[in-house]
Symmetry: C2
Subunit: 325 residues, 2 copies
C-alpha cells in the first residue's frame, strides 16, 4: 500500500534500484522486481533461505546532524545484510520499507536510496521491492533474503572450539562517541568512517559457511560481550575472551581512537556495537578470521557465568551488556 | 539489532508466535524461527517465491482511538498477506518489524502480537522472525513470503478477458468513514467490521493461480479505480467497470452503509480502499469470483483513458484516484 500520489516516487526508487549489481553472482532468479504487488523470485535448487529484517529509526539509530542520508541508507542496508552474512549465507535480494516524514523531499529520498543501492551493490544484492508510508520520523526497514547450503546458527559451539572474529570490534562505537561528543582528532578518522559506513562481512561469512570446522556464528551488532553471550547461551557453553587478542585485533586504529577519546580499547571491543563483525566458534582456523577466545564447558567455569575476560589477572566473568541505541 | 534490554520482549513475542498454525499446510520447511540472527527456511522444490512488505503507521494507517491494538496487529498482517494472495501464491512465512513508542507497555505489545498471530493463523502463515526498535510512533512492518508454481502479475490482461473480483469493494472504506465521523447505525456494523478486520483472499488467490484462464491480478488496497488502472497500464489495455455489477456485488451490506452515510455505493466501490479484494483478468469465470467488468483494446476506446465506468448513460472515463491514507 502506498500513500496517495506517491507513484512517481516509486518510479524514482525503481530507477535507482534497477541496473546490474556490481557482483553478477546475485543477479539470478529475479522474475519480477519493483512495480507489481510483490517480487517474484526463483530460489536456487537445493539451497536454504536465510531471512532477516532490521529497522533503523531517526533519533534512535542515527541522528541526521551526524550522518548524511546517503550514509543512513548505506548503514541501514548493511545492518540487515550482516545478519545473513553471519549465518554463512550468500545475500541475494532485499526489500526496503521506508517511513518518510512529510518534510523529506524527492532529492533527499534519492540520496537515501542511492546509499542503499551502493551498499546493496557492494554486497551483491538486488533491491526487488519495498513500501512507502508517511510517518512522523524517518525509518528504514530492510529485509534481506540469502541462500545457503547450510546455515550457521548461534547454537552449535562446542567446548574446545576457538572463538574467531572477522571485522573490527569497537571501532564504530569509538566513531559514534567522537561524533556525539564533537571530538575532532586525526586518530579517530577511521573510527568515524567505520561508524558511518559499516560493512556486512559477506566474504568472511561465506568462508565460515563453507568450513566444516565452523560450528556457530553471530554478528556483533550490540557489542561482543552481549553477542558472545548469545552464542554461549544458545550453545549451552561458556566463552573466554582474551584481552590481549582483542587489543591486538583492534590494532593501531582502535588504540588511536581509544587514546583520543580517553576510553579503554578493551571496553570498546567488549561493549561497542554496530561494527557488524562476524564471530565464529570453530574447531580450526578459518581464512580471514582472527582468534580472540575459547569455548569452554560451562560446568567447569567458576561461577555459572557465560562470558569471561582473560588477562594477566586471570579469567573473570563480565557483564553481558550491550550497546544501547 | 534490538534495543538494549529488550530480550525479554523478544521472548514474549516468540512465545506468542510459536505453536502450530491452524492450517497445517504452511508449517513446512521452517528450520530456524525466532531467536537467531535470521530465520532459516527450506523452500518447496520447483516453486517460485513471492515476496512483499507492507507498513502500517499510527496516525497514517490507523488511529488508536478507532481500533484496538489487537485489530492493528491483525490488519497489518492482512495488508501484507493480501499482496501475496493476489499473485495466486500460497502465503508461507512472515517477519514482523515493530517500531514501538516508549509508552507502549508489555501488555499492549502482547495484544498487538496476538492480533498478528490470529491473522497469520487464519492465512496459514508462521511468523518466523522480526525486529524491535524504539521510535516516536507505533509502526508495524510486515514482510510475507509465499510460494507458487506460477505468479499472476498485473501485466497479463488481454482484450476480451472479463474482470472478476473476490471480496468486498468499498465496505471497509464505509466502515472507516463511519468510525471517523462517529456515525452509529445498525446498517454500518458489517462495514465497520470489514475495516477493522479485513481478510487477505487466500483461497480466491489460490483458485486464480490454479486457473489456466487467469491472466493478471491485483489486490485492491487503494481503491478499484486506481488498482484496475494499474492492471490496465501494466497490461497495455483498458478496462470497463459495470456500475450495476458493482452495486450487485456489494449487495445489501454496502447499500445499507451507503444509505447510512449518505454516500453512493458506486463511489464507495470505485474509490474505497483497504478491503483487500482480489481482482483478476481472466478469459473464463473462476470459482469464488464475480464478474464486474471487461478488458478492452485501449486503442478502441474513445479518449485514451485506461479505466471506464459503464452504466445506463454509456461508458465514460473515470479518474484513477485512490484511497489516501
Amino acid at each position: 500500500m502506498t500513500i496517495g500520489g506517491e507513484h512517481a516516487r516509486i518510479a524514482r526508487l525503481a530507477a535507482i534500484y534497477r541496473g546490474t549489481p556490481s557482483r553478477d553472482v546475485a543477479d539470478y532468479g529475479i522474475d519480477v522486481a519493483i512495480g507489481d504487488d510483490a517480487a517474484v523470485l526463483v530460489p536456487p535448487p537445493g539451497e536454504k533461505l536465510v531471512w532477516t529484517v532490521d529497522e533503523q529509526v531517526d533519533g534512535t539509530h542515527f541522528r541526521r546532524d551526524l550522518v548524511s542520508l546517503h550514509d543512513v541508507g548505506y548503514r541501514a542496508f548493511m545492518a540487515a545484510a550482516s545478519d545473513v552474512a553471519a549465518m554463512g549465507a550468500r545475500p541475494w535480494c532485499a526489500v526496503s520499507s521506508l517511513v518518510l516524514p512529510a518534510t523529506l523531499n524527492d532529492a533527499e529520498l534519492d540520496e537515501l536510496a542511492e546509499g542503499t543501492r551502493e551498499a546493496a551493490d557492494e554486497i551483491g544484492v538486488r533491491v526487488v521491492g519495498g513500501n512507502l508510508a508517511r510517518g512522523p520520523a524517518l525509518a528504514i526497514g530492510t529485509s534481506v533474503l540469502g541462500t545457503a547450503k547450510r546455515a550457521l546458527t548461534r547454537s552449535g559451539a562446542r567446548p574446545g572450539d576457538g572463538l574467531f572474529v572477522a571485522g573490527a570490534l569497537g571501532l564504530a562505537a569509538a566513531g559514534f562517541r567522537a561524533l556525539d561528543t564533537n571530538v575532532h582528532d586525526a586518530r579517530i578518522v577511521l573510527a568515524v568512517a567505520a561508524w558511518r559506513r559499516p560493512r556486512a562481512r559477506r566474504e568472511a561469512g561465506l568462508a565460515a559457511g563453507a568450513s566444516p570446522h565452523a560450528h556457530a556464528a553471530i554478528d556483533i551488532s550490540d557489542g561482543l560481550a552481549q553477542d558472545a553471550g548469545h552464542i554461549a547461551r544458545a550453545s549451552g557453553v561458556a566463552v573466554v575472551l582474551h584481552a590481549a587478542a582483542l587489543i591486538n585485533h583492534g590494532g593501531l586504529d582502535l588504540m588511536g581512537a581509544s587514546d583520543a577519546l580517553g576510553m579503554s580499547s578493551v571496553e570498546l571491543c567488549l561493549y561497542g556495537g554496530e561494527d557488524y563483525a562476524v564471530v565464529v566458534a570453530a574447531s580450526a582456523p578459518i581464512d580471514g578470521f582472527t582468534r580472540i577466545g575459547d569455548v569452554r564447558d560451562a560446568r567447569e567455569m567458576p561461577n555459572g557465568a557465560r562470558v569471561y575476560l582473560g588477562d594477566w589477572n586471570g579469567e573473570r566473568a563480565i557483564d553481558e551488556v550491550g550497546f544501547d541505541h
